[in-house]
């Protein structure tokens, strides 16, 4: 994306205000920002809903796998980028899970046998095989979200974009969802772009975190580069990961330490070391 600006019809503010961003193939990128930071608009740009389906004024250039987003229709872009929204209810409308997952490839006139194979693969991948004949409405929130992901996967896109997909999931549902995304990246080489407000999972699963505020990219880098700066996170309306807060507090109190943990595993090691070099045992 180069110099991307977008103003929603009827709004004064720029939802996206000069975005330059590159995402590499196979990367797991988390867009982190408060509500209104522009992350949802950026997600919709990745599969062409912005500018094609969302009314507004678009400037700049955005390419997805070499295709200019403003020149290709959503139907073409959808074969490159699968999209999953906050609330799966807004996305599911068929009578059965199988119809739901087959809907995309059917619209692309994929042959019947191929569709069957894709549906089975997609359901297997999200761990919902055997649910083919169930009505999506009878499923739990986490299961619905997995069907929405399976429907995106059935298009065989090399990239998946998810706008706050854990919105309504319980904590175990969140863990399951992020493990699934990790598997899609590691086993299927998929590129993952995810919008979030809570940085806890971003610290663990992302290759890169892009901090957004008021339609701009504030910072982009590894989770450690972006999430250790707790002051900057608070400035853009994000509660830092708890472990990053611990690192910052310890560095304040023990200026000779440079704790840079952002995950539980890292902090376990770092704090164990601090405890084994306790001042009393040194003086003894």
């Amino acid at each position: 994306m180069r110099g991307v600006r977008f103003v929603h019809a009827g709004s004064q503010a720029r939802a996206l205000d000069g975005i330059d961003l590159d995402i590499a193939k196979g990367e797991f990128v988390t867009l982190l920002g408060a509500n209104g930071s522009g992350k949802s608009t950026l997600c919709m740009l990745a599969n062409g809903l912005v500018p094609h389906a969302v009314p507004g004024t678009f400037e700049g250039t955005a390419e997805v796998f070499g295709l200019d987003v403003s020149k290709y229709p959503v139907t073409v872009l959808a074969t490159r980028v699968g999209m999953v929204f906050q609330e799966p209810e807004s996305q599911l409308f068929c009578m059965s899970v199988e119809e739901e997952v087959a809907f995309g490839p059917e619209n692309l006139a994929v042959p019947k046998d191929e569709i069957r194979a894709r549906v089975e693969w997609a359901l297997e991948t999200v761990g919902m095989n055997g649910y083919n004949d169930r009505s999506p409405m009878t499923l739990s929130g986490g299961q619905k979200q997995r069907i929405a992901i399976a429907a995106a996967l059935a298009m065989h896109p090399p990239m998946i974009v998810l706008d706050e997909p854990a919105y309504a999931l319980d904590p175990i549902g969140r863990v399951e969802l992020f493990s699934l995304l990790k598997r899609l990246k590691e086993q299927h080489g998929m590129t993952v772009l995810l919008a979030e407000r809570d940085p806890e999972e971003a610290a663990v699963y992302s290759d890169r975190v892009v901090l957004m505020s008021k339609g701009k990219v504030v910072a982009s880098g590894t989770p450690r580069e972006t999430l250790l700066d707790v002051t900057r996170l608070r400035d853009i309306g994000i509660d830092p990961p708890q472990v990053a807060t611990v690192s910052a507090l310890i560095n304040e109190r023990l200026p000779r330490q440079a704790m840079s943990s952002i995950t539980i595993e890292e902090a376990e090691v770092a704090v164990s070391r601090l405890l084994s070099t306790r001042p009393r045992s040194i003086s003894r």
Binding site: N35, G36, S140, D170, I264, A267, P279
Partner: protein
């Protein structure tokens, strides 16, 4: 502020005795719940998607009636009271504010409830002003609720409930979809309502919010309460939490892992963690 009627702070205001509830279609959502809410408590009801939290809460103000068992509100059987009667004691703010908001201005929305209860004139104005002020909505009175953002709409939906001056306020997933700043503003207002003497029942799976605000946590799994304790006790019980599809905040998990190095297991915030680590270390 409206002075609450005299009440013994420790007195039971809502009691459920062996409450069972089966939805049409046969889903057994509550399988025998015994629970007592006392005046002035701040209780979180936590549990995974589909554990029965919302079904339970809806029994407290008559939105649902038990298949068997008994609900008592203010010492009277709820079975003999209408939803309107119950709403004077127990207010319920829905998870999705848009299911609740239908008036053309915030003021009309907030006055709807007390007007229906028969209030008018200065008493009505007093209640509306109080509720708008309490939820930090001064300046929004004349605006249409749907022109506001999600955080503001959620506060309107709560104001529309507290204008009926309930002693107990049930909030169903009030932080869903809000960012850190919006959650802070909302929870500050809720904390103030609790300090005025109202019991707060917070249905949620946001464990950080629970750690920060609730005095008492009721864990639900599979239509039953499986633990009823203070937040520290709950976060220390990883086994019950996992059964309830919950994960404690990352900082509690870190404390668990470092328990053998002398860190307390019942840590709830990064600040507590660092304080405890300095203690375990024996100095800077």
């Amino acid at each position: 502020m409206i002075p609450l009627p005299e009440a013994d702070p420790g007195q039971r205001i809502v009691s459920l005795h062996d409450v069972k509830f089966t939805y049409d279609g046969g889903v057994e959502a509550l399988r025998g719940v015994n629970l007592h809410i006392r005046n002035g408590e701040f209780v979180a009801i936590v549990g995974g998607n589909g554990s029965g939290k919302t079904t339970l809460a809806k029994h407290m103000n008559g939105l649902l009636r038990p298949t068997s068992g008994e609900v008592m509100v203010s010492g009277k059987p709820a079975a003999g009271l209408s939803v309107a009667d119950l709403s004077r004691v127990v207010g319920y703010a829905f998870q999705n504010p848009d299911h609740q908001l239908f008036c053309t201005t915030v003021e009309a929305e907030v006055s709807y409830g007390p007007r229906n209860l028969g209030y008018h004139g200065p008493e009505l104005s007093r209640r509306v002003e109080y509720a708008i002020e309490a939820m930090g909505l001064g300046g929004f009175s004349e605006l249409p609720p749907l022109s506001l953002n999600l955080g503001q709409r959620r506060r309107v939906s709560i104001a529309a409930v507290i204008s009926m001056d309930p002693r107990v306020l049930i909030l169903d997933e009030p932080t869903t979809g809000l960012d850190a700043g919006e959650i802070r503003v909302l929870m500050e207002s809720i904390g103030e309502l609790n300090r005025e003497g109202r019991a707060i029942i917070l249905i949620t799976h946001e464990m950080k919010v629970v750690a920060e605000h609730a005095n008492r946590v009721v864990v639900m799994a599979d239509g039953r309460t499986v633990l009823d304790s203070d937040a520290r006790g709950v976060f220390a019980d990883l086994e019950v939490l996992a059964k309830a599809r919950l994960v404690p905040p990352p900082i509690s998990l870190l404390a668990h892992r470092l328990a053998s190095s002398g860190i307390s297991r019942d840590i709830m915030t990064p600040e507590e963690f660092v304080f405890d680590m300095m203690r375990a270390r024996g100095g800077p």
